[in-house]
Symmetry: C2
Subunit: 108 residues, 2 copies
DNA sequence: ATTTATTATCGTAATATTGCAATATAAAAA
DNA sequence: TTTTTATATTGCAATATTACGATAATAAAT
């Protein structure tokens, strides 16, 4: 045990869970917010913005990239990172639908 | 090591991360979707809907409750669970803001 | 060619999560 | 009161995550 029983759930359920999980750490939220603040691709800098060692930040960036939340473009000896909008759209749509459905509930 | 460095991030960043983390498991997404499908408080039933043992489901429900995503009302010897809308509103607003900011980006 | 700067990977320790059997708890039903 | 039903808690094994030092990889600068 210890491993998530991915097989038993739908692709959509797993997709949303993977994206949400990637955002389930304050360092990764801080990375997303920093990319939004500078409002452009950013090369370097990210490590200096966070209270974590370089390998740790690199690992968090990798997870955000795997979840499709950010994109990384090689630019010389640095890598430019930026928000990958379409994955955030998936999340926003998903939660908007939840809100729409739930406001019609009459209970509790 | 191994523990998240919560102290170094803002309250808002930690709040969003905690909510996202709670949604970062397909079983918990499935629970939310089931509560939406029945569109009311539901007593019992949840365990039968999921491919997991009762203690495991109970644990997932507890995590969703801790994150403020669901509410549980005692009703006789059963407990009625339902969506806690306001926490989903927090998430929807957060992601809507991200989408609004990011669409103005010109790069990558 | 060597140094410098930037990012990734490896290895590893500490901690957290997932899942379940066994058991506990609490209220309704018999 | 005993049984049944519904949910929670405990304890534990398996696995995953977090964090970082050391090191590798890569390309620019000297």
């Amino acid at each position: 045990m210890g491993a998530t029983k991915t097989d038993h759930f739908t692709d959509k359920q797993n997709q949303i869970a993977i994206i949400a999980k990637a955002l389930g750490h304050p360092a990764r939220i801080a990375i997303i917010e920093y990319l939004l603040k500078v409002n452009s691709c950013i090369c370097g800098d990210i490590v200096n913005e966070l209270p974590l060692a370089q390998p740790t930040v690199s690992q968090h960036l990798k997870e955000l990239k795997n979840a499709g939340l950010i994109k990384g473009n090689i630019e010389g000896n640095a890598i430019c990172y930026c928000i990958d909008e379409k994955t955030f759209d998936v999340l926003k749509d998903y939660f908007s639908n939840i809100i729409l459905t739930v406001t019609n509930q009459k209970c509790c």
